[in-house]
C-alpha cells in the first residue's frame, strides 16, 4: 500500500526535479491531447518546442522569445514575492492593463512633442498605474480585512472594462477614421519602446525583466526584507514573534507586483503591441501565475520558466498556422502544466513509502 510520509523539510533535489518532471508529463499528456484532436503528437510537440529555437525560421522566432518572455518574467517576479509570503495577488492582469493605460496615456498626452524625457516619464507612469491598482486590494486588506484574492481578481474585470472605455473614448485615435484603439506609439519616436539591438527582440522591457530577476535574487538572499518574506511564508507565527510587520509585507509585496505588472503592460503597449486597443491584454497576467510556480518562486527559476512559457506561446502560434492546432489547445496545454506541477510537487514535501497494511 502506498503511504505518504512527510519529509522533515522539503527535498532540495525534488524541488528542482519536479518542474522538469511536470514539463515532461505535460508533453506526454499534451501529445495525447493533440492526438485526440487528430494531429500527429510528435510533430505537434516538436513544432511547439523545437521549431521556434532550431527550426527553419528560428531567426525570426528567437527574438520573439524575449518579447513574449519579458512581460511574463516581469509579472511573475512580482507575484513570486507575494506568493512566498502567502499574499495571493492574482489580479496581475488588471495591473498590467492599468499600467499600459497610464503609460500610454502619458505618451499620448505629449503627442506630437518629441523629447527624450517622454519615455522615462511613461515608464514611471506605467509603474505607478500598476502600483495604484495593486494598492486597492492591499489597502482594503489591511484596513478592512478583505480577501486580496477576490478583490484583485474583481479589479481585473474592472480594468478590462476601463481598457475598453479608454480605447473607445478618451484615448481613441482622432485620426483613426473612427476605428477603436489609440494612436500607434510605434510611429511616435519619443514614446516608442524600440528594439535596442536590431533583430534580437531586446527592448527596454527585456532589460527591466533581467534587472527585476537580479533585484529579486539579491532581495531574497541578501536582504532582511527578503528574509522576512521567506520567513512569513514558511512560518507565519514565528515571523510575527520575530517582529515582522505583516502589514508592511502586504504593502511591499502587492506594491512591487503591481508596479512590475504595470511596467510590463507599459513596455508592451509602447513596443510590441503599439497601441491601446480593446483586445490588448492576452492573459500574460494569468500565465505569469503558472510561470511563478513553475519557477519555484525563485528568480532564476522564473527566468527559465518564463522563457519556456514564451516558447509555448510562439510554438503554439506556429502549430496553429502550420498544423491547424486550435489556439485553445495551447491554453489548455499551459493549464495542464500547472496542474501536473502541483501534482508531482507532493514528492518534494512527502516521501512515498510502500508498506503492508497495518492496524492504524
Amino acid at each position: 500500500m502506498l503511504k505518504l510520509e512527510k519529509r522533515p523539510q522539503p527535498s532540495r533535489l525534488w524541488t528542482w526535479v519536479t518542474p522538469l518532471l511536470a514539463v515532461v508529463i505535460t508533453m506526454v499528456a499534451g501529445g495525447a491531447l493533440f492526438a485526440a484532436l487528430g494531429k500527429d503528437p510528435v510533430e505537434a510537440i516538436a513544432t511547439i518546442f523545437w521549431q521556434p529555437l532550431f527550426g527553419e525560421f528560428a531567426f525570426y522566432y528567437r527574438p520573439q522569445l524575449l518579447i513574449k518572455g519579458a512581460p511574463l518574467i516581469l509579472i511573475a517576479i512580482g507575484l513570486s514575492l507575494g506568493f512566498r509570503a502567502g499574499i495571493w495577488n492574482i489580479g496581475a492582469e488588471g495591473q498590467y492593463i492599468v499600467g499600459a493605460l497610464t503609460g500610454a496615456g502619458v505618451g499620448l498626452a505629449f503627442y506630437p512633442t518629441e523629447s527624450v524625457l517622454i519615455f522615462p516619464l511613461m515608464v514611471l507612469a506605467g509603474a505607478l498605474g500598476g502600483w495604484v491598482w495593486a494598492m486597492i486590494p492591499a489597502v482594503l486588506k489591511l484596513r478592512f480585512g478583505t480577501n486580496e484574492i477576490l478583490v484583485s481578481l474583481m479589479l481585473v474585470y474592472v480594468a478590462e472594462q476601463l481598457l475598453a472605455a479608454m480605447a473607445l473614448g478618451p484615448m481613441k485615435n482622432p485620426e483613426g477614421m473612427g476605428f477603436p484603439g489609440s494612436r500607434n506609439l510605434r510611429q511616435y519616436e519619443s514614446a516608442h519602446n524600440a528594439e535596442l539591438i536590431t533583430g534580437t527582440g531586446m527592448h527596454w522591457g527585456v532589460v527591466a525583466a533581467f534587472i527585476a530577476v537580479i533585484f529579486a535574487y539579491v532581495l531574497l538572499t541578501r536582504h532582511s526584507l527578503g528574509y522576512h518574506i521567506r520567513l512569513t511564508g514558511q512560518a507565519p507565527r514565528a515571523a510575527r514573534f520575530a517582529g515582522v510587520r505583516p502589514a508592511r509585507l502586504v504593502l511591499v509585496c502587492l506594491g512591487t507586483a503591481g508596479a512590475l505588472a504595470g511596467l510590463a503592460g507599459m513596455f508592451e503597449v509602447s513596443g510590441p503591441a503599439g497601441q491601446v486597443s480593446i483586445d490588448f491584454n492576452v492573459g500574460y497576467g494569468f500565465t505569469a501565475i503558472i510561470v511563478a510556480f513553475l519557477g519555484r518562486l525563485h528568480p532564476l527559476g522564473i527566468l527559465l520558466a518564463g522563457l519556456l512559457m514564451a516558447l509555448t506561446y510562439i510554438g503554439g502560434e506556429i502549430a496553429q498556422s502550420n498544423m491547424g492546432l486550435p489556439a485553445a489547445a495551447i491554453q489548455l496545454f499551459q493549464g495542464m502544466l500547472l496542474f501536473f506541477l502541483l501534482a508531482v510537487d507532493v514528492l518534494t514535501n512527502y516521501r512515498i513509502r510502500f508498506m503492508s497494511r497495518e492496524a492504524v
Binding site: L153, M154, Y157, A165, I290, G335, V346
Partner: protein
Amino acid sequence: MDMGSISPELLLASLMVAATPILLAALGELVVERAGVLNLGVEGMMITGAICGFAVAVNSGSPAFGFAAAAGGGAVLALLFALLTQVALANQVASGLALTLFGLGLSSLLGQGYVGIKPPPVAKLDIPLLGDIPFLGRVLFSHDLMVYLGLALVALIWWMLKYSRAGLILRAVGENHDAAHALGYKVVRIRVAAILFGGACAGLGGAYISLIRVPQWTEGMTAGAGWIALALVVFASWKAGRVLLGAWLFGGVTVLQLNLQAASVQFPLSTFGWMFFGAPLIYLIRRKLQRSRVSWRAITAVTAISATGLGYALVMRGALAPFKVEYLSMSPYLITILVLVIMAGDKSRAPASLGRIFHASQ
C-alpha cells in the same frame, strides 16, 4: 434619471433568472467550504459546465441531458481538484487557480464548433393558478425548473447543515479535521464528496448561463461569475439563507445595469457626490455599532470626505451625463468589492480548518 422605460415587474422577474447561476455555484462552494476546503476553481468548473451542457443539449436536443452533462463536467473537473488537494496534498489556493486556468482552456477548446448556434429552448413552468396572480405571478411563478431547483437547494442545504447528521459531520470535518479524524470520520472521503458536489453545482450554474440566461456559447462567457460566487460565500458568512439574499442582490445589480445600458438613460453626476457623502458615514456607523473606538483623526477624515462629497453633489445638481456601457459593466465587480469590504469583518463564521491541508499522520 428617466427610469420610466424599466418595468419593475420585468426587472424582478429577470432578477430571479440572473441570480440563479451564481446562486447554484455559490451553494456548491458553500458546502465545499463548510467541509474545510477552499476551491478557487469555481470559475473554471462553471465555464466547463457551460460548454458541456451546451454541447450535449445541442447534440441531443434535450436541455435536461445538457444540465446533467454540465453537472457531470463540473464534477469531473472538481475531481481533478480533489485529487490534487486531497491525495497529492497540494496547496488549495494554487490548485484552485490551476483549475480555473485549465477550465478556461478546456472550455474554449471544447466549444470551438459551437459558436453562433442556438441551444434547444428550455420550457418555462407555467404554474396554473399561481402564475396568474397579477404581479407576483410574473415575478415568482413563471420561471424554468432550474430557478426552483436553486431555491430548493437553498432550503435543502440549510436544513442539511443545521439539522441533519450528515451536515453535522460535514461541519465537524470543516471546523477541526484532526478531531473529526480522531472520531473515526473519513475526512478525505467526506471532503472529496463535498468537492464533487460543489463541482456539479458550479457546472449547473454555468450551463444555466449558456442554455437559458444568454443563451448561446461564447468563449469566457461566465465573465467572473464564479469569482462572484466565491465572494458571495464570504458575504453570506457561510450560511445558505444569506447566499440567496446575496445572489438576489447581485442578480439585481446585473439586471439593473443591463437595463440601464439598453435604456440609455442619463446619469446624474451628483450620484458620485452622494456616494462619497454616504459611504464614510456608513463606515463610521458600522464602527460605532461594533463598539470599536473611533479616533478623532478618522472622524475628521470621514467628515472631510463626506463634506466634499456633499459639496460635489450640490454643485453637480441637475447635471446629466450619458451612461457609458463600459462603466456600467464594471458595476457587478465593484459591488462585489464593496460587499466584501462591508462583510469582511465577520470572519468568525469561517470554518476553522478552511484551506488547511489534512494529513492523517500528523
